[in-house]
Amino acid sequence: MEGKNQIVFPAETLELVAKIIKRYPEGKQKSALLPILHLAQAQWSWCSPEVMDYVASLLHISSVEVYEVASFYTMFHLEPVGEHVIEYCRTGPCCLMGGVEVYDHLKQRLGIETGETTKDGKFTIKEVECLAACGWGPVFQIREKYYMQLSKEKVDEIIDELSK
């Protein structure tokens, strides 16, 4: 974990932050909170209290305003995660398409349960609700990428590829 002093966005991200804040009327910069939390998580992989304090300082809001928002939305990781966070959809339509079996295989393959991270820090598995891709289920997401129509074989291929 980096020390507090190292938590600063690179210059080009700071420019982007300034641009995002301009999307909203004067004085309504708090509206930029979700977009900037996404940027922060992309930068530091999870939203530590230090990261959230930093986001608060950028928006001139109190830290607790960031904590209460980050903890409300499921996309923000409030604990450290692995390099690849696999978020699989556990809702009805994906289950109809054999999701449970595929996800069990995923857990077996990585030797971890939902919510855990592999010892080498490479993979974390999380379960999420509907990802709006029900016709192409079962589905999981790793960062911005959707992996659809999953089968056990396809899961193996994806894990092989990401383990390289």
């Binding site: 939305y73 609700e129 509907c130 192409w136 911005e144």
Partner: protein, 446 residues
């Protein structure tokens, strides 16, 4: 008849050049240069277009409620927080053809007199957000956004706002809270967003599909749109088809075809997967009541059920359901209704914002009780307990999430009570892998 998806498979339709070559942005040209904002609103009213996110409220009427005090900015916010299980049409449309939405945003913003508009997209769809932002930049570069659009004197800035993963933000006041950088807790109404929306300014919130349809309405007139469909179900609807069908995907249907045709015709779902039979359908996203095969195909009065708002709800909740978001989930005889209901109950438990106690506590109860039934630990009194909890949530919450959570549980018990009883009476059978209850004499159990 295709309105939104006619060119969706044209290669590179996501670029402005190809979109324009296929007739794109004509509506912006027409609306901004030849029509007044009120004329645009009038056409949308005439079209009979109803909110495509699920509620089905007439779009033109919603627009006419927008307060227009002098000197106060007003906003159009597009609800692209598509999260209703079974629904993936907006995802598909924005991913494939972002300009279809952007064009609709310009036309609709013009009609409402909004000079800044937002598209609120669920955060999981970050790759779609990137596609939209690229397309928006193209529109700015071509003078279709920004100052003095096409020399009309009308200014519009358009931004994409990512959500953070919360179903509740599909509820319009929760969405506005979220857009303000807060937790997605729905607001008490009134005041309605049309009077006090984002940052307490007058705001219209419309679904992606609703906004996208306005371009065609401007080009062809509200009457032409209203000529498609049946009665008060005008125009076309994107249906997200998933589950045990041969061809899952997004289909744009003219409202008014029969449910039977939609499921079995090769033009649409292509029928149930080989060797299987239709057991049940959730026709409008996870919130709407599940119906067994015979009830989804035929109304209680023996008519063929149609894909319309009215026909799907014919018979009320006793024998009918709702068109909702058009999330059409098809289940064959291998489906365990208890397990499917459990995934929905778990979903609403997870997604309840926690503001109202009937929903916060009730969704937890339903999840827990169905979980124990599914896992062979159900008690005889559990079924009535579930009915009771569902009844106590329904109508007792600030926003419709409470109803949305109660309906699927109540309907599953209404139509598949024997399956719940079987789970409770035969836990050793019900928990066996792959074991599914077969109702004696049912069409799917033959």
């Amino acid at each position: 008849m295709k309105i939104l998806t006619e060119h969706i498979d044209v290669p590179q339709i996501e670029t402005l050049a190809v979109y324009k070559k296929n007739g794109g942005y004509k509506a912006v040209e027409k609306a901004l240069k030849k029509m007044t904002p009120d004329e645009v609103t009038e056409e949308v009213k005439k079209s009979g277009l109803r909110g495509r996110g699920g509620a089905g409220f007439p779009v033109g009427m919603k627009w006419s409620f927008l307060a227009k005090p002098e000197g106060v900015p007003r906003y159009l916010v597009c609800n692209a927080d598509e999260s209703e299980p079974g629904t993936f049409k907006d995802h598909y449309l924005m991913w494939k053809s972002p300009h279809t939405l952007i064009e609709g945003m310009i036309v609709s913003s013009y009609a409402l007199g909004a000079n800044t508009s937002y598209i609120y997209v669920r955060g999981e769809l970050m790759y779609v957000i990137n596609i939209l932002e690229k397309a928006i930049q193209e529109a700015y570069d071509q003078g279709l956004l920004g100052k003095n659009i096409l020399g009309s004197g009308y200014d519009l800035d358009l931004f994409v706002q990512p959500g953070g993963g919360a179903y509740i933000c599909g509820e319009e006041t929760a969405l506005l809270e979220s857009l303000e950088g807060k937790r997605g807790n729905p607001r008490n109404k009134p005041p309605f967003p049309a009077v006090k929306g984002v940052w307490q300014c007058p705001t219209v919130v419309n679904n992606v599909e609703s906004i996208a349809a306005t371009s065609w309405i401007v080009n062809n007139g509200g009457d032409a749109y209203a000529a498609i469909g049946v009665g008060r179900s005008t125009g076309t609807k994107l249906i997200s088809a998933s589950g045990h069908i041969k061809k899952p995907g997004v289909y744009e249907i003219p409202l008014g075809i029969t449910v039977e045709e939609f499921i079995y015709s090769d033009e649409w779902c292509g029928g149930i997967r080989d060797g299987h039979k239709l057991k049940a359908v959730v026709a409008g996203g996870s919130s709407v009541p599940i119906l067994p095969a015979e009830m989804i195909l035929t109304t209680a009065t023996g008519e063929k059920r149609l894909m319309t708002y009215e026909s799907l709800s014919d018979g009320g909740f006793a024998t009918g359901t709702m068109l909702g978001s058009g999330g059409f989930i098809v289940m064959d005889e291998t489906t365990c209704i208890v397990h499917n209901t459990l995934t929905f109950a778990r979903f609403y438990h997870h997604e309840s914002c926690g503001q109202c106690s009937p929903c916060r506590e009730g969704t937890g109860w339903m999840d827990k009780v169905i979980h124990r039934i599914e896992h062979g630990k159900g008690r005889k009194e559990d079924i009535d307990l579930l009915v009771d909890v569902a009844k106590k949530i329904e109508g007792n919450t600030i926003c419709p999430l409470g109803d949305a959570a109660a309906w699927p549980v109540a309907a599953a018990i209404r139509h598949f009570r024997d399956e719940f009883e079987w789970h409770i009476e035969h836990p050793e059978l019900a928990t066996k892998e792959g074991a599914v209850f077969m109702r004696p004499g049912a069409s799917w159990a033959q």
